[in-house]
């Protein structure tokens, strides 16, 4: 078990800097998810922590020890890869025992630990099979098993669920979470899936174009996104953004609608409202011309534009609703539903 500290971490390929001054402290036994769109540098960051990529500048410490120059083998970490990276010529048992054998663990100890891990992951009956004889989900378990038998200080997950089908993904997500809590091993998990990130992480590090946008708990990210990027990335469907002008205790939207807020601002601002925080009301302040409905059963997504403009608005209303297309429906943001961002810096105005 260990803490991980990232201090002003930078990565460049030639003249191109892809990660910019990443800092963050990960507590012992914590499950941190690094999330961001593809190409944001999240995998590179994880691979740097694993020791598979060099560090251009800054420091990585695991358990208080700077590991910049330490080989992956000596960092006491285990990694689960996106394509599982099982050794195709070895049986499941040999795959799991490989790391232990290299560390010269006694034979009976290896057998005990492999069996124990196999029991936890319910892969006991596959121990003598080759990876190619297993399904995707089973391979995923073996990859996890290979990580946990080593009993490392840190688990690193590189999008481990992205090759599974939707149902299996949800199931494995829960299992990973339970396993991590049970073993209490500090874990870093990389994903581009915000639902995965929200459900798994104690804290989330949101990366965008090589910058940390925000590093906080899932609820905090949802309730108080630090930037427009985080606001748009976390939550589905994405937050609505409306250009507005700040005022004393209110903001005025471009169409003249005034929305009350606790903040006093001035100049151009961006008002963000989550679709699920829009409430349909006959006296609502936001007139939305309905363009399309998406019925999801539990709720209905109303796609439309702010009446008299082409600013898109999405609202999520509970239950099955049949609203006439091309009609104007009025919505009101719920209390405290308004997020305000600086129009230039796109940072949160709090």
């Amino acid at each position: 078990m260990a803490t991980i500290n990232l201090d002003q971490l930078t990565k460049s390929y030639g003249p191109d800097e892809v990660l910019h001054h990443i800092s963050g402290d990960i507590n012992d036994s914590e499950f941190v998810v690094i999330v961001g769109p593809s190409g944001c540098g999240k995998s590179t960051l994880l691979r740097m922590i694993a020791g598979l990529e060099t560090v251009t500048s800054g420091e990585i410490s695991i358990g208080g020890k700077i590991v910049n120059e330490i080989e992956p083998a000596d960092r006491d970490i285990a990694m689960v890869f996106q394509n599982y990276a099982l050794y195709p010529h070895m049986s499941v048992r040999e795959n799991m025992a490989y790391g232990l054998k290299i560390r010269k663990t006694p034979k009976d100890e290896i057998t005990r630990r492999v069996n124990e891990a196999a029991d936890i992951l319910e892969i006991r009956e596959y121990l003598d099979r080759k990876p190619r004889q297993l399904s995707g989900g089973q391979r995923q378990r073996v990859a996890m098993g290979r990580a946990i038998v080593r009993d490392p200080q840190v688990f690193l997950f590189d999008e481990p669920l992205s090759n599974l089908d939707a149902k299996l993904r949800v199931q494995m997500r829960l299992e990973i979470r339970k396993l991590q809590k049970r073993l209490g091993v500090t874990s870093i998990y990389v994903t581009h899936d915000q639902v995965e990130a929200m459900t798994l992480g104690d804290r989330l590090m949101v990366l965008n174009a090589g910058y940390v946008e925000q590093f906080d708990t899932p609820i905090e990210l949802y309730e108080r996104p630090a930037s427009m990027f985080v606001a748009g990335f976390i939550g589905s469907p994405a937050m609505n953004f409306l250009t507005a002008t700040g005022g004393d205790g209110l903001v005025i939207l471009d169409n003249g609608t005034a929305l009350p807020t606790r903040l006093s601002t001035s100049g151009p601002v961006i008002a963000g409202i989550r679709p699920e925080h829009l409430i349909a009301e006959p006296e609502g302040v936001l007139p939305v011309r309905v363009e399309m409905l998406e019925q999801l059963g539990a709720n209905t997504l109303v796609h439309g534009v702010l009446d008299g403009s082409d600013i898109p608005i999405v609202a999520s209303v509970t239950g099955i609703q049949s609203l006439p297309v091309n009609d104007v429906v009025r919505f009101t943001p719920g209390p405290d539903a308004l997020h305000l961002f600086d129009a230039n810096t796109e940072r949160r105005l709090s």
Binding site: G51, L52, A73, D74, M79, A85, P88, H89
Partner: protein
């Protein structure tokens, strides 16, 4: 039910395969059948008459101690050539796979020897190892080693093995490099994280994963050493000294064109033909199936 598609009969498909069939008939089937026919005849010492003797030539070979020595020598030669060229290629490919900077230049250079004609390759080695002019005998003299492959049969054998192996390294290198590059990078990384150093990774991960290639190359190299090394041997040692580097193909040539024992030479080439056919069968039967790892 299986539905077969029938095309109207036409001469076009026959015309299209005709050139290939013609080439095969003229350059392969006809000479092969000639060799088989020849292997059953014996000429008199002056070449004035021939006699059909059925399998007497094969009988003579079966009782010929020299032929068995040649057979044995060929096997040692082939095993050494295959082993040396494959292990050197594996070693080089293992490093080339890790090279990041200048990888292209490095690979191109390693592939060059394959483009050198066998006789030229032989000539190069002859010059380098010439007992009076060559650079290596000169250098070996400093450590007190007397090199003269014109007199020493073992040295001559070593020389042709080295020359033949050197020529094949490039070919093996290409295949090994391709095989190594098709191993997913994450597998190698996983073993690095599992604690395996470069040597251990090579031994426990890369080597088993390129084993299908190893088997394929083993057959190819054996065929090469058996049949395609004539040019090198002819240029370097002419099978000498005292037959020390005479392998089967070289003996076919020597008995037939120098010794003018056409029947005996033909019988030997028929045996070689059977060998090459069986090797090809092995290759198709097992290589196509892929080695199961």
């Amino acid at each position: 039910m299986l539905k077969r598609v029938h095309f109207p009969t036409s001469v076009l498909p026959y015309l299209l395969v005709a050139p290939q069939i013609l080439v095969t008939l003229i350059f392969f089937i006809w000479p092969a059948s000639q060799a088989m026919y020849q292997s059953m005849r014996i000429e008199d010492a002056f070449g004035l008459s021939t006699e059909f003797v059925w399998f007497e030539n094969f009988q003579i070979l079966a009782e010929d101690k020299q032929y068995f020595e040649t057979f044995w020598r060929t096997i040692i030669f082939s095993a050494c050539v295959a082993f040396i060229s494959m292990s050197v290629a594996l070693f080089l490919a293992g490093f080339a796979d890790r090279v990041v900077r200048g990888a292209m230049a490095y690979r191109t250079m390693l592939i060059w020897p394959y483009a050198v004609a066998p006789v030229l390759a032989g000539a190069l080695w002859v010059f380098m190892f010439n007992p009076t002019l060559g650079i290596f005998p000169y250098l070996l003299e400093f450590v007190g080693y007397d090199w003269n492959h014109y007199l020493n049969g073992h040295q001559a054998m070593l020389l042709v093995i080295l020359a033949a192996a050197w020529k094949q390294v490039a070919y093996n290198f290409l295949f090994y490099l391709a095989a190594m590059q098709s191993i997913p990078k994450s597998v190698i990384e996983a073993s690095a994280i599992d604690g395996a150093g470069p040597v251990r990774r090579f031994r426990t991960i890369i080597l088993p994963l390129v084993s299908p290639t190893t088997f394929f190359l083993l057959v190819i190299n054996a065929v090469y050493a058996f049949f395609d090394t004539f040019g090198i041997i002819h240029a370097v040692t002419q099978g000498g000294p005292a037959g020390a580097t005479t392998i089967l193909v070289y003996k076919v040539y020597n008995d037939g064109f120098v010794g003018l024992d056409l029947g005996g030479s033909a019988a030997q080439s028929v045996i070689l033909m059977i060998l090459v056919i069986s090797m090809t069968v092995i290759q198709f039967r097992y290589v196509e199936k892929k080695v199961d790892y």
